[in-house]
């Protein structure tokens, strides 16, 4: 191959075959080293490279696969990577530097990287071609499985490996009963021993996935569509669709036909070179030292070496193989397997009651693998010690150390984010060099945590450790200037500031990046009991136009429908407005209200006028909904008047801004039809009164609220709720939901503040609540008649036609407009 000599412009490109995570990693590694070398990436799939790993999570969460794209389209333009989408390289001649695409086009290249990945294995059993039999590999599969799960009465997943279990979990999450059919006598037998597998089976069953072991599927039954499975032992099961997940096979056909040596994968050496000197292979299609890796982490390392090889450099050390490590992405089942955890001498810590099993295997004094089930603390540390082949004298001690390990104990080389191949050292460096002050910034800068997200807590921990403060101190309201909420509150109180501008002038907060302005605006309003000077530039667009911005720049309108109770007259007005303004969608929300979606900003004031209903604050960090169930009014089980209580609670709280949104609900009995156990504030009627739960969650996290109090009357319940709300308003960090707040400060502290009447604090909280509530504008939608700025809802209107005005620019520009404008 041409050894890295400077290439004249117009030289033949480096060809990257395949646009998976590996293809993308190779392009990025090349670009980091050489901004000039021409690059062509041929992507067999009709889409830009995306994060395949997160498909499992997406199946469960019913998300949109389009959100997985690794880089925006502009990245390829900006980095001059020529991309061919939806085309395959059909044949390749490395020696001649020529290849042919499926479109018939011929391409020339100088060097090439094969990143062709793999195909799912489909066993050649009868029925495998029936409708309703799916592999689980790409976005199409994910969507097809999701659709099939709608309304199906049972699904079968053939294969009880990692991927099969993730598929089963995704299907179960969609409410479809599912059976995992596995050939061996335990799940994930390649990674797990009996001890861990014994815990995994029941854990999967608890999530709604039945497990059948030692079943060899002999045929898939059905005429046109799959209707069941028949096993070698003669048994059968019925199902409406089948997902096959028994393994993968590297795509080597292209390499093979070019005469490149292949075994199970394309054989490469330590420099990722194949038997063709100008061709490397990276990712799931490559076989190094006899191993084909089916995971992401190794391919990042491989891509770095391959890039050096392609550019004729000796930069990185040769690739020496990776330790296999896998984390099961099933919510509620924590499982990590590392390396080879079979045989050898093992140290095991197991607690059946807590469903915890932790094992490390040592051979010749060095750890070779580990299994962590139920408690995966310290898995990064264990992976690193396996990788480094550290000598271990006391394996039990290593296990114990791992459970205690924090981000601080990890060596710099330890991989933190497996999805994007980011090690701790890189994160520490980014924090130090960039002076980063929040997890979000670290994620944006390093991309650690932007894949499956499971490493985010560790990223936060590393941030805190690098920053040297404890957890609370390290959360800055203004990350640019490293000012905490407490410090800023003290400044505001000390100077009696009433506006964001005053704070900015005093201490610079909000000037550099502006991200903290909404938080600062909230703080100012809270400290001043809502008698502050409102400045709209400090608010997010939603709070300037009192509607939620949507992906296409339009807005959604959610009127307040207290307790979810509406009337024919309101419904008629909503219908009239929707028709008149051609609202693209009218939707019932999960908050028992009605959403008009896709409204143009200009139409908002007129729509509010005609609706003649108050704002539901669905766009704001504020009191949102109070859901109710039908309660004693109608329900035969009702113990409390949940509708009346809910409407009253909503009236008393509405209009208040809060650190993050506050959603409540009131249920008439412990059947809990309004989901009160998982709300920020939830009432449940019980015999003789109300239970009040706080800190519940059912969004990105699911958490049952903590029981704060049980009181006899509705008035008392509402009083406790308002006292809690004010305590939260005053003490939570900006954007901290009650579920995080309650965990951070602990229920004891909350009970003291909210319930201990002798201390006087609850009474003070109620008084400050009263003051704040008295000052809130009743309904922001009244700004339709009296806008804060006359042209708040419209763009600039160059009057009339696009007339060219004025003298030649030269003359005007010389007047240094920038100074004028001050």
């Amino acid at each position: 191959m041409s050894e890295g000599a400077a290439r004249p412009a117009g030289a033949k490109p480096i060809l990257v075959v395949g646009g998976g995570i590996a293809g993308q990693a190779v392009c990025e590694a090349l670009r980091r080293r050489d901004p000039e070398v021409p690059l062509v990436m041929v992507c067999g799939e009709p889409r830009l490279p995306y994060d395949r790993v997160t498909l499992s999570t997406l199946l469960a969460s019913e998300g949109d696969p389009a959100s997985l794209q690794l880089r925006p389209a502009e990245w390829y333009e900006d980095n001059r990577v020529e991309v061919r989408l939806g085309e395959e390289v059909e044949s390749i001649d490395p020696q001649a530097g020529a290849c042919r695409l499926s479109s018939g086009e011929a391409l020339e290249f100088d060097r090439a990287a094969l990143c062709t990945g793999s195909d799912p294995l489909m066993p050649p059993i009868p029925g495998i071609d029936l409708e309703g039999v799916y592999p689980f590999r790409g976005p199409e599969d994910c969507l097809a499985i999701g659709r099939a799960a709608e309304g199906a009465s049972r699904a079968a997943v053939i294969g009880g490996g990692l991927l099969g279990l993730e598929a089963a979990y995704g299907i179960a999450s969609r409410g479809c009963p599912v059976t995992v059919v596995h050939l061996m006598d335990r799940l994930m037998e390649r990674q797990l021993d009996e001890g861990a597998a014994a815990l995994l089976g029941p854990a999967m069953e608890a999530l709604g996935a039945e497990v059948l072991l030692e079943r060899q599927t002999e045929r898939i039954l059905g005429w046109a569509r799959a209707q069941g499975l028949r096993f070698a032992d003669g048994g059968e099961m019925e199902c409406d669709f089948v997902v096959v997940s028994i393994g993968i096979r590297a795509r080597t056909d292209l390499a093979r036909s070019a005469g490149i040596v292949c075994e199970r994968g394309v054989v490469v050496d330590g420099r990722m070179r194949t038997s063709a000197p100008n061709v490397v292979a990276v990712g799931e299609c490559a076989q190094h030292d006899g191993i084909v890796y089916g995971i992401v982490a190794p391919l990042h390392e491989q891509a770095e070496v391959a890039a050096d090889t392609l550019l004729g450099r000796e930069g990185t050390a040769p690739y020496g193989g990776s330790v296999m490590s896998a984390k099961l992405k099933v919510m509620g089942v924590d499982l990590v397997s590392i390396g080879d955890a079979h045989g050898g001498a093992a140290a095991i810590v197991a607690d059946d009651d807590a469903s915890v099993y932790r094992k490390i295997v040592v051979k010749d004094g060095r750890p070779t693998g580990a299994i962590l089930m139920g408690d995966v603390r310290g898995h990064e540390l264990l992976l690193e010690s396996v990788r480094a082949g550290e000598e271990v004298t006391d394996p039990l001690e290593l296990l114990a150390a791992a459970s205690r390990a924090t981000g601080a104990d990890l060596p710099d080389a330890a991989q933190v984010c497996n999805c994007n191949g980011v090690c701790k050292g890189a994160i520490v460096e980014a924090i130090e060099d960039g002076g980063l002050g929040s997890t979000a910034e670290v994620v944006a800068t390093t991309r650690a945590g932007s894949g499956c997200g499971s490493c985010k807590p560790l990223v936060t921990e590393i941030l805190h450790f690098v920053r040297g403060g404890d957890v609370e101190e390290a959360s800055f309201l203004c990350p640019c200037l490293k000012q905490t909420r407490e410090e800023l509150a003290a400044t505001i109180r000390g100077h009696g500031f009433e506006s964001v501008t005053e704070v900015a002038a005093q201490c610079g907060t909000g000037r550099r990046c502006g991200a903290c302005k909404p938080g600062l605006a909230y703080l100012i309003s809270e400290i001043n009991g809502n008698r502050h000077r409102e400045e709209r530039h400090a608010r997010f667009i939603n709070d300037r136009v009192h509607a939620n911005i949507q992906r296409d720049g339009t807005f959604s309108v959610v009127p307040r429908i207290r307790g979810g109770v509406t009337s024919p007259a309101e419904l008629r007005r909503i219908a009239d407005v929707a028709e008149k303004y051609e609202v693209p969608m009218v939707k019932l929300t999960g908050g028992q209200r009605i959403d008009l979606l896709g409204v143009a900003k200009e139409d908002l004031p007129a729509i509010w006028e005609e609706l003649d209903m108050p704002s539901g604050h669905a766009y704001a960090k504020a009191v949102r909904t109070v859901k109710t169930c039908v309660g004693t009014d109608f329900c035969r089980f009702g113990l409390g008047d949940s509708i009346a209580a809910g409407i009253e609670l909503e009236r008393q709280m509405e209009g208040l801004y809060t650190p993050h949104k506050v959603k409540s609900s009131v249920s008439g009995c412990p059947r809990n039809c309004a989901e009160s156990y998982v709300k920020d504030i939830g009432f449940v009627a019980v015999e003789g009164g109300w239970e009040i739960y706080v800190g519940g969650a059912s969004g990105s996290r699911v958490r049952k609220g903590d029981l704060l109090a049980t009181v006899p009357t509705t008035e008392e319940a509402i009083e406790v709720a308002l006292t809690f709300l004010q305590h939260y308003r005053e003490n939570a960090e900006y954007l901290e939901r009650t579920y995080d707040f309650c965990e951070r400060v602990g229920m004891e502290a909350i009970e003291r503040a909210v319930l201990d009447e002798e201390s006087g604090e609850p009474a003070r909280l109620r008084e400050r609540f009263r003051i704040a509530k008295a000052a809130v504008e009743t309904d922001p939608w009244l700004e339709r008649r009296d806008p804060v700025h006359p042209r708040q809802f419209v763009g600039l209107e160059p009057d009339g036609e696009a007339a060219l005005v004025g003298p030649p620019a030269e003359a005007v520009l010389a007047g240094a407009p920038a100074e004028d404008a001050r």
């Binding site: 900006d78 909000g510 990046c513 667009i541 720049g553 419209v794 600039l796 620019a809 030269e810 004028d820």
Partner: protein, 126 residues
């Protein structure tokens, strides 16, 4: 900061009234089919392409600070003077000079087709 005198502009196109953009906010305007987001900053008025390079978010609706605007959709932060994405991702949008005269705002446009002229790269403003 001095504005470049060598712009190839031959005319100015009126955008609207300066008072229609509150300080630290943005508004959109369309000039010869090109959508601009015009901002009022501490240092006068500036304009950039209206659509975020990420997924086309309306930059005029973003939060404005001294030198940048944060896209309201996914928080990419864009330098108002260079149009460069400075945090949250990569990419850039065109950047334009805005001239204020007698309370009116203008953008330099091409004398040929009336499209706005991108500003010349600024040296680091002090």
């Amino acid at each position: 900061m001095t504005a470049s005198g060598s712009t190839a502009a031959t005319a100015l196109h009126r955008l609207g009234r300066a008072e229609d953009i509150p300080r630290f906010e943005g508004r959109t305007a369309t000039v010869a089919g090109v959508s601009l987001a015009v901002f009022s900053t501490e240092h006068g008025f500036v304009a950039i392409g209206a659509a975020c390079p990420h997924q086309g978010g309306p930059l005029a609706d973003g939060i404005v600070s001294e030198r940048c605007v944060t896209c309201p959709l996914h928080n990419r932060r864009i330098d108002l003077h260079t149009g460069e994405v400075v945090a949250g991702g990569e990419g850039r949008v065109p950047a334009y000079e805005v001239v204020e005269r007698d309370g009116d705002l203008y953008v330099p446009v091409s004398g040929v087709d009336g499209t706005p002229l991108e500003r010349e790269p600024l040296e680091a403003a002090t």
